[in-house]
């Protein structure tokens, strides 16, 4: 910059500060790889700080929890991709156990399972309709749905939990498939299917288009409302699946089930690189985010910290991840 008689205030000189392209690229890369790298680092640190983590029983627990949160997070990722959000997943997840358990004494499990998924689909449909046809801001619509479902569940069970969990659920959850619990297999299969949809089918393209620029997608001939509604339905159905797997793991109906899955599914997706603004995100990142979160939460218990540290940990990961993502996006948009 030539230095002729320049009368610029020092503030002005600072205002013109531009982050060098290398810094911008580094932060972008960091945003994309943050989760997997953090997972690796955490695992290494755990070796020294909390070796009990690698106890086979603990690893099995961690595996199942990753699977359950992972399934929910996949659904949440889909919804985030189309600029929406789903805060009712925790309620749907908890609902599953209640519906399926009502059968006592050996009657067929198929019907309640179908009921459960049908109800989940209905919830997703309602969410989707509220968001698309009535243009309710997504977090209000789904939070309202959350309150409503929780109320419905309370009213239905009158605060009492009863019944045993059917064998089938235990089979898809704890039963070992080789060295790993069945739940992980379910998660990997769901991952593979959804990944295929996102990358290799036109439905995946539609998702990214609707999230990237909804009016342009509409002009391009895509039925945007249907895409958003489908994402919500899928999310709810996946949450229900996760709830069934979780019940199989716990073995009984726990009314406090599912409280944290809202926050954590969103956190995992954000940590993994999915944005709120839509059109950006992928399942690898989400999977890494899920692993990171669960491992951290598990370490809290293994190290022996009191349980309420988990809340603090969840919140801290969410805040840190969101802050980093926001910063990364800000740099990219300049």
């Amino acid at each position: 910059m030539s230095t002729q008689t320049a009368s610029r205030s020092p503030v002005a000189r600072f205002r013109g500060l531009r982050f060098s392209p290398r810094v911008v690229r580094a932060v972008d890369l960091a945003g994309q790889l943050a989760a997997p790298i953090a997972v690796v680092i955490t695992l290494i640190v755990a070796l020294f700080v909390a070796p009990a983590f690698y106890n086979p029983t603990n690893l099995k627990t961690v595996g199942i929890q990753i699977a359950v949160l992972g399934i929910v997070a996949i659904g949440q990722t889909l919804v985030l991709l189309v600029r929406s959000i789903d805060l009712s997943v925790s309620a749907v997840l908890a609902l599953g156990a209640v519906i399926v358990v009502q059968t006592e004494g050996g009657s067929s499990i198929i019907v309640p399972m179908i009921e459960a998924f049908a109800i989940a689909a209905a919830v997703g449909l309602a969410n989707g309709l509220l968001v698309t046809k009535r243009q309710v801001p997504p977090f209000i619509a789904t939070y309202g749905m959350l309150v409503f479902i929780q109320g419905a569940r309370m009213a239905y069970t009158r605060g009492q939990a009863s019944g045993t969990v059917p064998e089938l659920l235990r089979a898809i959850s704890i039963a070992p498939v080789g060295p790993i619990p069945a739940a992980l297999v379910v998660w990997l299969v769901v991952n593979a299917i959804v990944l295929f949809f996102l990358l290799s089918t036109r439905y995946g393209r539609w998702l990214y288009a609707v999230g990237g620029n909804p009016p342009a997608a509409r002009y391009a001939g895509i039925r945007t409302d249907s895409v958003v509604i489908a994402a919500h339905v899928l999310c709810a159905v996946l949450a229900m699946l996760a709830g069934l797997v979780l019940s199989g793991y716990i073995g009984y109906v726990d009314l406090r089930l599912g409280a944290d899955y809202n926050l954590n599914s969103i956190a995992a997706a954000i940590v993994g690189g999915t944005t709120f603004t839509g059109g950006r995100g992928n399942l690898w990142g989400t999977a890494a985010g899920v692993a990171l979160l669960i491992i951290l939460l598990n370490l809290v218990v293994v190290i022996g910290l009191p349980i309420h540290w988990q809340y603090a940990m969840q919140g801290a990961v969410l805040v840190a991840a969101t802050a980093l993502q926001g910063f990364r996006q800000y740099l990219l948009s300049r």
């Binding site: 509220l130 009535r134 243009q135 309710v136 801001p137 977090f139 209000i140 619509a141 939070y143 309202g144 749905m145 959350l146 309150v147 409503f148 479902i149 929780q150 109320g151 419905a152 309370m154 009213a155 009158r158 605060g159 926050l263 969103i266 956190a267 954000i270 709120f276 009191p306 349980i307 309420h308 540290w309 988990q310 809340y311 603090a312 940990m313 969840q314 919140g315 801290a316 990961v317 969410l318 805040v319 969101t322 802050a323 980093l324 993502q325 926001g326 910063f327 996006q329 800000y330």
Partner: protein, 329 residues
């Protein structure tokens, strides 16, 4: 282009038509209030008694405090999901300090100040995080709330006793039948409304919510305005926590559960756009009154507590579904 004729414009629409058009949502919410009040008066005879009506007003103070803070934040296009937990931590902290200080009434004023400072500190934290990292306010405040939830559990899981008797006056003190706090609250609504319509910083909140870019170009310090909004909401939450403390008489670990959601609903019902830049505190007042009234009616009709939650959720869903905000198609 060739010259044409003098440009002709249509005569502007009559003033009252524009007035109705610009204030439609406020008219709607107050219409709803009249409707519900009317129905309630018929269905539940004890609804109409002065005591009950005054009760409704007093019940609306807590939600009102939180809704005022929430309104300012939503006006900027953001949202504060940490208000309930801030209220709780203030209540628990102050209660603990009261207990440690031997329930000495002389502590009341200083501890109230401490409570407000604690609130302001968390508001500052929210504001700084949101402005420095350009991250989504919803998630940041949601995350902070989660952290605070853990901290609150660490402080106590059982009620904390040891509040001096004099402090309970904050909730109980009356002039005749009207509690003093209701009057103070009325004054507060007016002052904040004045702030939002006539103070430069208040208008800055609208501007930032309407368009950060335009606000910046008009020499408005966007970051400072946002931080002020979040500090304001946290202080409101602190006030709510202090007020709840006076009502229950103990430091309740369940303080303010769910109030962040309720405040957002009140604000949304009152016509403030969730996207910011539009709306009025008058509408929020309507939303708060409506919710307080509904709660009251449910209790009077002795609706089962489980069904109350269900109904609230249903009412909310119907309200937002019916309230289609006019966004360009």
């Amino acid at each position: 282009m060739t010259t044409i004729g003098t440009p002709v414009t249509a005569p502007p629409p009559p003033r009252w038509a524009t007035l109705i058009r610009n204030n439609a949502s406020i008219l709607l919410i107050y219409g709803l209030i009249l409707l519900v009040a009317g129905t309630a008066a018929i269905m539940a005879p004890n609804f109409r008694t002065p005591t009950n009506l005054v009760n409704i007003l007093r019940q609306s103070i807590i939600l009102g405090l939180i809704a005022i803070g929430q309104s300012m934040v939503i006006m900027t296009g953001g949202i504060d999901m940490s208000m309930a937990m801030v209220a709780r931590i203030v209540a628990l902290t102050v209660a603990t300090l009261f207990l440690a200080g031997g329930s000495d009434p002389a502590l009341i004023v200083p501890l109230v100040v401490v409570g407000l400072i604690v609130g302001a500190a968390f508001g500052l934290l929210n504001g700084l995080l949101i402005t420095r990292t350009h991250a989504s306010p919803f998630i940041i405040t949601f995350g902070i709330a989660s952290i605070l939830r853990g901290v609150n559990l660490a402080i106590s899981t059982t009620p904390i006793r040891g509040i001096p008797e004099e402090y309970l006056l904050v909730y109980d003190a009356k002039i005749g039948i009207v509690p003093i706090n209701v009057l103070v609250m009325g004054l507060l609504w007016y002052l904040v409304w004045l702030f939002s319509t006539r103070a430069r910083t208040g208008r800055a909140l609208f501007a930032v919510g309407g368009s950060e870019r335009v606000a910046r170009l008009s020499a408005i310090n966007v970051d400072r305005t946002l931080v002020i909004a979040y500090v304001f909401s946290a202080v409101c939450a602190a006030l709510a926590g202090l007020f709840i403390l006076s009502r229950t008489g103990v430091g309740d670990p369940g303080t303010a559960e769910g109030m962040d959601f309720q405040s957002v609903v009140a604000v949304a019902l009152g016509g403030i756009s969730m996207y910011g830049g539009k709306g009025s505190l008058i509408g929020t007042l309507g939303g708060v009154l409506l919710i307080a009234m509904l709660s009251n009616v449910f209790n009077l009709l002795q609706v089962d507590i489980y069904y109350q939650q269900l109904l609230l959720g249903l009412v909310v869903l119907i309200a937002v579904a019916a309230y289609k905000s006019p966004r360009s198609a």
